[in-house]
């Protein structure tokens, strides 16, 4: 065929010593057509470099294509064929700036018919089986590639369990498995028992878990290539694909995300975007749980006299000192700009540590030879107590469907309220003063407690707290006290504070 098309003769063929090349029939063929057949030296694939390299690219493509769609491995031949088909049409040779197809045929390839390998498709019955009036006109299938001899698609028909070539195929190239197939394996294992006991009695042996099944079919495939279709098909091969299609229940997915600490890389601008992303829904739920735990508010019916302050969600990605996103933080904030002075708030001024004070503390700590630690109060402002009566609306997207017209009466402060920082400082300083700490005379955010020659220093920067002591038991006492009163997160040696990177070494401290 090649000879006819190009009207030139094949002079020689090079191959390795594989049985498919080195046999009598092939020898006869070569003799008949005057083709030289030379072999690479035994066990020296290097001599056949071009072919081996291409083979590798094709195999790797095929492997990813199969795994991407969680297809069973016995579709390998189709995957390799499709990879080759697409590469020949798409890959541009660097020097000639043409695809192999163009070089060979002299015209540019048509690409409009290319589809995603392994995607879901629907094969029209088109008269090959007689249908009753309300039978489905099409069968669901998996797209496997392009027919070599006719202008058609190859697809695996899930109902008939056969591979068909047809032109009448509709494709669904969206891939629902992209997100789902990672948690899938865990899901399979966990529920293998349930499934066996329930609906899938007919093939208990074959259905222990998907993985096993694929392995077993692979064995069959290795021994006996042409037959691999018929035998395993009869069992429950169709089930593998069906199961994989079905995806995972939402609840399981949430559990998975919590375990793996999976984070979203984007910050949604609108609430609706966030509600579509499960990572952010978890983050929002987390925030609301925090509210319940801190007993922040109670639901009350709305009256006309109330000045209700709106709420909104703010979405932020938190980064570590190297700029990697570590958590998705959803924060419910009150629209504090709607507050009226005298009614909703009184004093708003809150004390904050000066940066000089922080540096002074660092230098002092270094001289006195003790390490500073840092901790952070979870949702600090939610701890501040409230003197005024303030009402806020229900969080958007999480309204109570039983009482949609109710509003929340705040017992504690909320982010975004004008007095929130002040109330928090108030609460924290009262707590520390009651524990015997003395407030600094000049710097009101520094708290000191002395005990003979031992001293503990606590510097408060809103919700970040740095502390250090030359006595370990005093430190631990402080930590325990704080943990008892507030919900704290991370208690680590000071490394990153207010954008400053701090390195505490044995005899020196480095700040950059």
């Amino acid at each position: 065929m090649l000879e006819n098309e190009k009207s030139s003769k094949i002079v020689s063929i090079r191959s390795d010593h594989g049985g498919e090349f080195q046999n009598e029939r092939f020898e006869h063929f070569c003799e008949k057509h005057d083709i030289k057949h030379n072999f690479s030296a035994a066990r020296t694939p290097q001599q056949n470099g071009v072919v081996e390299r291409k083979n590798r690219s094709l195999e790797e493509l095929a492997r990813t294509m199969l795994n991407e769609n969680s297809l069973p491995k016995y579709f390998w031949a189709d995957a390799v064929n499709t990879a080759c088909y697409v590469l020949n049409r798409v890959l541009i040779r660097p020097i000639l700036k043409k695809s192999p197809y163009e070089l060979f045929k002299g015209m540019r390839p048509v690409l409009s018919h290319l589809k995603v390998f392994g995607c879901k498709c629907f094969i029209l019955n088109n008269g090959k089986e007689s249908l009753v009036k309300f039978d489905a006109k099409a069968d669901e299938g998996v797209f496997l590639g392009y027919a070599t001899q006719s202008h058609a698609y190859r697809a695996y028909n899930k109902r008939l369990m056969t591979v068909e070539e047809s032109m009448h195929v509709v494709f669904d190239e969206t891939n629902p498995k992209l997100q789902d197939h990672v948690p899938k394996i865990a899901y399979e294992d966990e529920t293998a028992l349930e499934k066996n006991s329930a609906a899938e009695l007919e093939s208990t042996a074959g259905n222990q878990s998907t993985e096993k099944e694929i392995q077993s079919t692979e064995k069959v495939a290795d021994n006996n290539l042409p037959k691999e279709w018929i035998e395993p098909m009869g069992l429950s091969k169709g089930n593998i694909i069906d199961d994989i299609e079905q995806g995972v229940s939402i609840r399981r997915k949430l559990a998975f995300f919590q375990h793996v600490a999976f984070v979203s890389q984007i910050e949604p601008k609108k609430l609706n975007d966030a509600l579509c992303d499960s990572n952010w829904v978890v983050a929002m739920q987390d925030e609301l749980n925090q509210f319940t735990r801190n007993d922040v508010w109670s639901l009350v019916p709305k009256t006309n006299a109330m000045n209700v302050i709106g709420t909104k969600w703010v979405f932020r990605n938190k980064m570590d000192e190297n700029g990697n996103i570590v958590t998705n933080k959803a924060r419910l904030v009150a629209k504090g700009y709607n507050q009226e002075e005298g009614i909703d708030f009184d004093k708003t001024y809150a004390l904050v540590a000066r940066l000089e004070a922080v540096k002074l503390l660092l230098a002092y700590a270094c001289m006195c030879n003790f390490k500073l630690s840092q901790m952070d109060v979870k949702s600090a402002f939610l701890n501040g107590f409230f003197n005024e009566e303030v009402y806020v609306s229900q969080p958007p997207g999480f309204e109570d469907h039983l009482y949609p017209n109710h509003v929340f009466k705040l017992k504690k402060a909320l982010y975004g309220l004008k007095q929130a920082p002040r109330q928090w400082y108030e609460r924290l300083s009262n707590f520390l003063l009651s524990k015997g700490y003395a407030r600094g005379v000049v710097d009101k955010t520094l708290f000191i407690r002395k005990h003979a020659s031992d001293v503990i220093l606590v510097q408060v920067y809103v919700d970040d707290i740095i502390f250090g002591s030359n006595n370990n038991s005093m430190r631990e006492e402080f930590v325990a006290a704080m943990q008892g009163e507030f919900e704290m997160s991370m208690m680590v040696e000071l490394t990153y504070f207010l954008g400053l990177q701090v390195k505490q070494l044995k005899h020196e401290t480095f700040l950059s």
């Binding site: 940066l355 000089e356 540096k359 002074l360 660092l362 230098a363 002092y364 270094c366 001289m367 030879n369 954008g499 400053l500 990177q501 044995k506 005899h507 020196e508 401290t509 480095f510 700040l511 950059s512």
Partner: protein, 152 residues
């Protein structure tokens, strides 16, 4: 800016920054954004303090020459990413403050610029560079103002 050359200092020795009335206007929002970011950095980098405050005086009407000079600070920052404040461990806990000034340093209104710093032992803990609020008629007066800054 990412692959610019590094500079050792934030400001050229022969640099005379003036209002540059004749120069080309640049986007003042961008200039202010740059100055704002640099001001934030002065919290941990005393070496650019004076340079940044000098550039910051031209935010109302920035010209190309000012923008170029501001970019010099970025070059300097690139060359000094590996330096930081160093707090050694020592027994000498004495707080000492220093102040200095340049007499009539600002060529536009002849006001002096004072600079102050404080050290605890040999650890630098605070620093500042400000143009004085009034025109000092003698070096002694400028000195007094600078010392006043240091003690405030």
């Amino acid at each position: 800016m990412e692959d610019c050359k590094e500079a050792a200092t934030p400001i050229a020795t022969n640099c005379l920054i003036d209002a540059d009335e004749a120069g080309n206007q640049v986007d003042s929002t961008k200039y202010r954004g740059l100055i704002g970011s640099l001001l934030y950095l002065t919290a941990s980098r005393p070496n650019i303090q004076f340079g940044v405050f000098l550039r910051a005086r031209f935010q109302s009407n920035p010209k190309e020459s000012h923008f170029k000079a501001a970019k010099r600070i970025l070059k300097c920052l690139k060359g000094t990413t590996n330096v930081g404040l160093w707090y050694p461990n020592e027994s000498n806990i004495v707080l000492s403050g220093f102040s200095d000034f340049d007499y009539a340093g600002c060529k536009l209104d002849r006001k002096s610029t004072s600079g102050t710093c404080h050290l605890l032992g040999s650890s630098l803990i605070s620093w500042n560079s400000t143009k004085q609020a009034c025109v000092a008629l003698s070096t002694a007066k400028a000195e007094y103002i600078a010392v006043g800054h240091a003690c405030a």
